[in-house]
């Protein structure tokens, strides 16, 4: 049973489009479910504030869905855009684009749900600061979208760069690796950034005077949580743009694929871990305002140490790409 090149590309684009949209929607749905659950709790404790809570939920959801809309855009582009002259490498490139966008949207979708939910709960607890809470929630969930944006950049690069002059044999694996690297690494960073943002909304509801310090600590924590995603993006760019010499050997293909998988999975854990650390730091900055400096310092050191495994993964990936 043999197919021609055009058929292979078609198979790849359809599966990639499906993957991108499916995973993207799952992330957003999980986030919205979390929001709805906490909004329920808030509504039951203070039904007379239902207007404010609904308003906040609507605005929060509109922002939280951006990651899913990125996925939608990439999926529709994959499905409807004319692929141009068919060459076999295109199939691998579009499949990688779908994987990157699909996985990348999960983390941001889930992550943006945390601040939205906590803000709904917070409005029920402290209705006087609902404006500040909504603003803080929006900043937090907008920052959560950066890993999804990274994934979209990689997906678009994979779709629109012309690979026709590249040799097929190791490049197909490099492109798949590039997609997996950013896509998987974005899961941890997106969810981790969301945890920090959620804690900041909770903290502001508890102690409205702390808003300045809490927002700053949240942004610093989120920025450090994005580091694994940045490493994933770095590996992706290297895999996309470096020219691998042609070689039919299986090991030449497995090296870049292994590099991508390594960085992708290696970014999940540290991203989540950084988010957990940032969550508690932000929570306690809100309760213990005088101690902001000490908490931020400990958070940064703790996050830096928990990132070291992502750095080992990056080192192994770089060795796989450049040394082997």
């Amino acid at each position: 049973m043999s197919f021609d090149t055009a058929t292979w590309i078609q198979v790849a684009t359809f599966s990639a489009g499906g993957l991108a949209m499916g995973f993207g929607a799952i992330g957003a749905a999980l986030g919205e479910g979390y929001t709805a659950g906490l909004a329920n709790e808030g509504l039951s404790s203070r039904p007379e504030k239902s207007g404010d809570i609904f308003k906040n939920m609507l605005v929060g959801q509109a922002i939280a869905e951006s990651a899913a809309i990125f996925a939608l855009v990439v999926a529709v582009l994959l499905l409807f855009l004319d692929p141009g002259a068919p060459y076999l490498l295109k199939a691998s490139a579009v499949l990688a684009a779908g994987l990157s966008m699909g996985f990348g949207a999960i983390g941001s979708g889930v992550g943006a749900g945390f601040p939205a939910g906590q803000a709904c709960l917070g409005i029920a607890r402290q209705p006087a600061v609902s404006g500040t809470l909504t603003t803080n929630m929006l900043i937090g969930s907008a920052v959560c979208q950066t890993p999804a944006i990274f994934a979209m950049v990689v997906a678009l690069l994979l779709m629109f760069t012309d690979f026709s002059s590249m040799p097929l044999a190791p490049t197909w694996a490099a492109l798949l690796g590039a997609g997996l690297s950013t896509g998987l690494a974005a899961i941890g960073s997106g969810a981790g950034g969301g945890l920090a943002a959620g804690a900041s909304c909770e903290g502001i509801a508890r102690q409205p005077v702390s808003v300045g310090n809490v927002t700053t600590t949240m942004l610093v924590g989120q920025a450090v949580s994005q580091t694994p995603a940045i490493f994933g993006l770095l590996i992706s760019f290297i895999l996309i743009f470096s020219a691998f010499p042609e070689s039919a050997a299986l090991s030449a293909a497995m090296a870049p694929l292994g590099a991508g998988i390594c960085m992708g999975f290696g970014g999940i854990g540290p991203g989540l871990g950084n988010g957990l650390t940032a969550e508690q730091a932000v929570r306690w900055v809100a309760r213990n305002l005088e101690n902001t400096g000490g908490l931020t310092r400990t958070m940064l050191v703790g996050q830096a140490v928990s990132q070291s495994t992502a750095i080992y993964a990056m080192v192994v990936s770089l060795v796989l790409i450049f040394v082997i």
């Binding site: 920025a223 450090v224 940064l300 050191v301 750095i311």
Partner: protein
């Protein structure tokens, strides 16, 4: 996109080996060093009770990092190592934000710079450890908790150098590449200035602080 990851090198052949000098990185590093020296000179020139703007900035750095060092080490060691920590932070901070100027890049986006800083911190930490605890106690620490953990303890120590230097390198280099690729994709419209602000100033400051803190922590772990 061809300039991605390309560095101007001067290759000198000597004794059958090829010595490579990254000329751009060396010149950037010297720019940072000269800037810091000028800053130090200006800050120190007119010392007074009411500080001028440069003296104020200098005092801010020194006060902060002296306090941090005193927290991590004790008073006696802090007098000795606070200048190192403070200078390390200022150097890395200047390095990381040098890239916002046109035609200049960050010396820290080259692995050689960060790795040499990391190795320097590593050597200093172990030197302090041997000096403070004595050679015997220092060696003994490797055989904790049981003696055959020795190889893993050694690898653990060495991996600290890797993690500290690759973290800084990865962040700054990643920022560089992201800015380059995004400017290429969006034809340098609107977005790159914000990205440059985020990566070079915000992330650069955070990572310089993290690097300095970790060096300090490695020293304090050796001492305690």
């Amino acid at each position: 996109m061809e300039e991605l990851g390309k560095i101007h090198q001067l290759v000198v052949t000597a004794f059958g080996y090829e010595l490579r000098f990254n000329l751009e990185v060396i010149s950037w590093t010297w720019i940072v060093i000269i800037c810091l020296l000028i800053f130090g000179y200006i800050a120190k020139r007119n010392r007074s009770i009411v500080p001028g703007i440069f003296q104020n900035i200098g005092e801010l750095f020194i006060e902060q990092f002296y306090g941090l060092t005193e927290d991590a080490l004790d008073k006696r060691l802090a007098r000795k190592y606070a200048p190192l920590i403070c200078a390390l932070f200022m150097f890395l901070l200047f390095c990381n934000i040098l890239g916002i100027f046109p035609h200049l890049g960050e010396p820290t986006s080259d692995l050689n710079t960060t790795l040499s800083m990391g190795i320097m911190g590593f050597v200093i930490a172990h030197y302090v450890g041997i000096r403070e605890k004595g050679f015997k106690a220092y060696i003994k620490a490797y055989f904790q908790p049981i003696f055959f953990m020795m190889p893993l303890n050694v690898i653990g120590e060495l991996s600290k150098v890797i993690s500290i230097s690759f973290r800084l390198f990865g962040n700054i280099m990643g920022g560089d590449i992201i800015v380059l690729v995004v400017s290429y994709l969006t034809l340098s419209l609107v977005l790159p200035p914000f990205l440059i602000g985020f990566f070079f100033i915000f992330i650069g400051a955070i990572q310089a602080f993290v690097f300095t803190m970790l060096t300090l922590v490695y020293i304090s772990v050796q001492v305690k």
